[in-house]
Symmetry: C2
Subunit: 333 residues, 2 copies
């Protein structure tokens, strides 16, 4: 397959990532890339951790949300944005809306981490017509709620992953990583609905031809792994896993074709492996990473993936975890 054909008919193209990067310049953080001798010794690879836990609002989601909202026309801006999210997309949209001076309505599960709920409301403070709407993630359909509210209030719905502007924004994380450390042999990325990995796969393939992009899902929620095997989008029940950012039921109509084309394979890790990786990050790398943010690194550190001798980018997707819950996981209780 030639380079030109590689991206044909996909929802986003390399140029979309570059345009997103220009929109995000001076607004999103250019997050640091950390390395760890212990991690390299343990895996035999050279790992580059792209630390999106240092991104504004604590996760990569700000990139996609801001890239989407910044493209609203004047009438859309006046009416505002609506979003449904298990957490980080909620904060991302609330913060981006605040920065762009527009109203936001955020539909969040009742069992969202308290820190994510509080942060979302904090970003909305003083913003006109802005509020959080709660729903039960095991009983209600968040997409239906979001669509109904969007219709009632005339607000534009920005979904958490299945939107070209969101996907392109997330891809800027991988673009920055390759631009900073040079070409990679592999890029390992967590997978929820596929927004991050699809954007990152396009950015990485454009900058690092031949790169092997690998997705990592929680064991309990391997819908994308199943989908790749089936050749179509498989929908599962909301998985029960500590990786709350990856509790999606299915990949998107836009993200899945990108994953099929540009992602070599998807592997899974257990919640136990995530907790051990969270401890490794605290003890050895000195960073706070939420369970979902540990997915990619866990696959490497726990030996699910063997990439000896290779230069591997690892997306650390976020660091938003309630402190008592985090302390309990570090303590092993």
């Amino acid at each position: 397959m030639t380079d030109a054909a590689l991206f044909t008919d996909l929802a986003i193209q390399p140029a979309d990532i570059d345009a997103a990067a220009a929109r995000l310049a001076g607004v999103a953080r250019r997050t640091p890339v950390l390395t760890s001798r212990q991690a390299d010794e343990r895996t035999g690879a050279k790992l580059f951790f792209k630390c999106e836990n240092f991104q504004r609002m604590g996760a990569f989601k700000f990139r996609g949300a801001y890239n989407a909202l910044a493209q609203f026309g004047p009438a859309e801006r006046a009416r505002g944005v609506i979003a449904f999210s298990s957490g980080n997309h909620a904060q991302a949209v609330a913060l981006a809306a605040r920065l762009l001076g527009m109203p936001s309505v955020i539909v969040m599960p009742t069992d969202s981490p308290a820190a994510k709920l509080a942060a979302t409301r904090e970003y909305q403070q003083g913003q006109r017509d802005s509020e959080v709407v709660l729903y039960d993630r095991y009983k209600e359909d968040r997409e239906a709620i979001g669509r109904r509210l969007a219709a009632e209030r005339g607000m534009t719905l920005i979904p958490p992953f299945d939107h070209p502007h969101v996907m392109a924004g997330q891809g800027t994380a991988a673009a920055e990583l390759v631009d900073e450390v040079g070409p990679l042999d592999a890029l390992v990325v967590c997978v929820g609905g596929g927004g991050l990995i699809s954007g990152c796969a396009v950015a990485a393939h454009a900058r690092s031809p031949g790169v092997e992009v690998i997705g990592v899902e929680p064991e309990a929620g391997n819908d994308v792994q199943q989908s790749l095997a089936a050749g179509r989008i498989v929908r599962i029940d909301t998985p029960r896993t500590i990786a709350d950012g990856a509790q999606t039921q299915a990949a998107g109509a836009l993200t899945f074709p990108v994953i099929q084309r540009l992602v070599r394979r998807v592997v899974t890790v257990s919640d136990e492996q995530l907790v051990r990786t969270m401890r490794f990050f605290a003890e050895r790398v000195k960073i706070v990473v939420e369970p979902t943010g540990c997915l990619a690194a866990a696959a490497l550190l726990e030996g699910v993936l063997a990439l000896r001798g290779r230069r591997v980018g690892v997306i650390v997707s976020g660091g938003n975890v309630d402190l008592p819950r985090y302390a309990a996981m570090l303590a092993g209780s």
Copy 2:
């Protein structure tokens, strides 16, 4: 006082910091500088956190140790180095000795954090004539033990702070910070024996004329604050504080004159304020910081220092803390 006279008769000069920086290039990490909107909002200042918790072996101490050991002559290298330390200096000397291929004997308190003991022994593994010697920090005099062993074994003693090469090495942290973010109005640094603050004060004044350098000690161990008031080095009993890196009894004969000349004042914070700051770092900045590493930031975040409207460098000195102890402090137990 003219610039030229500012450093007269001090144990280290600006050129010593530059020479140390050249020795450390490609060996020590150039640690990232992080910012936090929440911290800026809370303090009204613009804070730049120099994150030495990301330094090799997890603390700034590597800078001074390597700078000192790299200047050993061939005979000294063959016999090796001896060091006494409450923790981070131990690891720093053990790692620097390993990198330079020399034996190391480290004298450590019996109640050192387990992680620091284990890491020190790990660095010594496979190194000839290398070992850890334990002592009781509340009963025995570590300096006497260190001097006796040095005499018996013909090894060179590198003290944790009162040595020009150690002081100059530590100063490279402030040098990098100012080189990266530009001139500072103030620089806030934790104070144990004064190695870090003396080196940083020389580097900061050389690069940022008129900078106000402020030291922070634990309430229970304010010997340097007392010494500045008395105009001479005051010695106290080993203080009981969670800031184990600042449990020193007195400043050094070389560090104190630098502090008298270049440090405007020293303030203190309580252990409770350190724990709250540690939580702030985990929750908001997403970094793991040991209690001693929280000293400088705590003075600002807890309102002990008011530096509204100013550009302030804050040294985050290290991140080595036993995980169970860290988890307990985060959980508030």
